[in-house]
């Protein structure tokens, strides 16, 4: 535990040295902080209606204005960050865990299993994500869990393929051969010896994947196929703003800017993490 702690601080220090990485770290830190403490920092109740104050332009009492039901936009933006992370984190980590397991099995197991899993990965990847998401939402109905499921299902292959490639390159390295010669089981080799060598690359991938998921959740909520009202979500803000774009344009800005900011933050952080964890990956996105 102590060892991984110091490794983490080395990585964080590396990220903080890079100006864009530091910026990313600050933005992500702010988003995570405001999401965790959302209930305490919101100036108003994010779902409390206040009809006399409806459709007010940004002012000192409502920094980002109010919507057609008189709800405070800033409060909804802050609460929306919590919803975005509630979708993105479980989806990305779930996909990473399953992709990692399947990928390692594909890379280490017998050839037929590898072929089968690769076909599975290629098939899942052949669905355009949003179209697949729409088909699933149409069939089982919109909810937070549906989005998490769709994201997990569509991004497992990305993690799986990377984990497989990494496993294949490690497979014949000396320390793995030595383990095998000593009679270590497959679970032990994969879990204790392969995993620590693969997880770094996948963590970078996950950091870069979070903004995609946030955008997908916002997109589906914008279409009215994501989280259900009155739950505040950045996409729902965009939806309300779009419906009354001439009367309450500040909703579009209030919903759009956090998405762009979050995307920028996680992308900067991810790129910087990548350079620290594995400089070889730098060439391609």
């Amino acid at each position: 535990m102590a060892k991984s702690h110091s490794e983490l601080s080395i990585i964080l220090r590396g990220v903080a040295k890079d100006p864009l990485g530091l910026l990313g770290l600050i933005i992500v830190g702010m988003i995570v902080f405001s999401a965790i403490f959302a209930a305490w920092i919101v100036p108003y109740d994010p779902i409390g209606m206040n009809i006399p104050d409806r459709m007010q332009a940004p002012s000192l009492s409502h920094w980002l204005g109010t919507d057609s039901l008189g709800r405070d936009t800033l409060s909804r933006v802050i609460m929306g960050g919590q919803v975005a992370l509630k979708v993105a984190l479980p989806a990305v980590f779930g996909a990473m865990a399953i992709g990692l397991t399947l990928g390692m099995i594909a890379g280490y197991g017998p050839k037929w299993l590898d072929n089968f899993l690769m076909l599975f990965f290629d098939t899942v990847r052949s669905f355009p994500t949003v179209m697949f998401a729409l088909a699933v939402v149409a069939l089982i109905g919109p909810s937070l869990q549906t989005i998490v499921f769709v994201v997990m299902a569509t991004s497992i292959p990305t993690y799986g393929r990377v984990a497989r490639t990494q496993t294949l390159t490690l497979r014949n390295s000396e320390f793995i051969l030595a383990e095998r010669a000593m009679g270590a089981s497959m679970t032990r080799i994969l879990g204790v010896h392969m995993l620590p060598n693969i997880i770094g690359v996948l963590a970078v991938l996950a950091a870069m994947d979070i903004p995609t998921v946030i955008a997908l959740e916002a997109g589906l909520s914008f279409l009215g196929l994501g989280v259900k009202p009155p739950t505040p979500s950045w996409g729902a803000l965009l939806k309300d703003g779009y419906a009354l774009i001439r009367q309450t344009p500040w909703l579009v800005v209030g919903g759009g800017l956090p998405i762009i900011l979050a995307t920028l933050g996680f992308t900067f952080l991810g790129e910087s993490l990548r350079d620290v964890v594995d400089p070889k990956l730098r060439k391609n996105r």
Binding site: L119, R125, A138, A218, G219, G256, I259, I260, T267, K283
Partner: protein
């Protein structure tokens, strides 16, 4: 090469078959009988009975699947339950709008991206290179539908430079309606392509044949334009082919934002009216489009770069 082509298309076909089967089973796996789900709460008993006969739901499941494949091979995607029109007709009527929007987006973003990337590579570590690099990272981060909404707000609602909704009439009208949507879809690609071209350009510029060309006294401008750039833009082809799924996803949102006709608008409208045959038809067509374009990108890559053929 021939074997590679056959293999690649066999894989594409296999992937399509698995995808279609998965989609087919997904509809059947949903609790409740498929007819009520497909027709929604508005179904009358007569409509249900005719759909059961039409979809061969009284047959065993493997037979249903075979019938479904048979229909697909004949280009039959089923029938719209409300209007009775062929789903294939409806989908292919909307498809051109989506294709023209995606094509224009790719065209402008690839042109600008390649120019930016080539310029940055020819003048590495200058201010313009740095600005281009920072710009590319930031642009890549902007999701198309957010850009679309902000562009709609600024350029259509506030400034009123461009129309806000529809697809327009006549060549100029259509082009005018395409400006904002293709701006929104293409924006994130400019930065991505610029980074890609810059990296591959720097690689190519270090190669022997470029050095030889320099030794012959050929002008730097000509070297960049006619020797280096030709090779450096190859990865762009692959990336666009593989990015087709991403482009289609952006198109769905952009069509909604600008109320444009197209595949995305068709799907969303059909979901709201619970018109499942059209949803499935459109999803299948776009999946097919994606699989074919990925395979084509791989093929073009293999033709241009023999090393890619043996990989994997």
């Amino acid at each position: 090469m021939f074997i590679y082509i056959v293999k690649r298309f066999a894989l594409a076909a296999l992937v399509l078959i698995v995808a279609v089967t998965a989609m087919f089973l997904m509809i059947r796996a949903v609790p409740g009988d498929p007819v009520s789900i497909m027709l929604g709460p508005r179904a009358t008993p007569e409509l249900k009975a005719s759909l059961i006969a039409q979809m061969a739901l009284d047959q065993p499941i493997w037979k249903q699947l075979l019938i479904y494949y048979g229909d697909l091979l004949q280009g039959d995607l089923g029938v719209d339950v409300f209007s009775g029109r062929s789903v294939a007709d409806i989908v292919f009527q909307q498809l051109p709008y989506t294709i023209e929007m995606i094509s224009l987006s790719v065209l402008w973003s690839a042109t600008l991206g390649i120019a930016l990337g080539a310029y940055a590579a020819a003048h590495p570590n200058t201010i313009i290179d740095r600005v281009a690099a920072a710009l590319s990272v930031s642009l890549v981060a902007a999701p198309a539908f957010v850009v679309a909404l902000l562009a709609l707000l600024i350029f259509a609602v506030k400034l009123q430079w461009f129309p806000a909704i529809g697809a327009g009439e006549g060549f100029w009208g259509r082009l005018n309606h395409l400006v904002l949507p293709s701006f929104a879809i293409g924006l994130s690609w400019v930065g991505y392509i610029a980074r890609l071209v810059r990296a591959s350009m720097l690689e190519v510029m270090g190669e022997n044949h470029i050095r030889t060309a320099r030794a012959f006294g050929i002008s730097e401008r000509r070297i960049v334009m006619s020797y280096a750039l030709r090779i450096a833009i190859l990865p762009v082809v692959t990336v666009i082919g593989v990015g087709m799924g991403f482009l289609l996803s952006s198109a769905v949102f952009t069509e909604i934002v600008f109320a444009r006709p197209g595949l995305g608008k068709l799907v969303i409208d059909s979901i709201t009216t619970r018109n499942y045959p059209i949803v499935m038809g459109a999803v299948l067509v776009s999946t097919g489009l994606f699989v074919v374009s990925t395979a084509l990108a791989d093929l073009i890559n293999a033709i241009l770069d023999p090393r890619a053929r043996s990989a994997d």
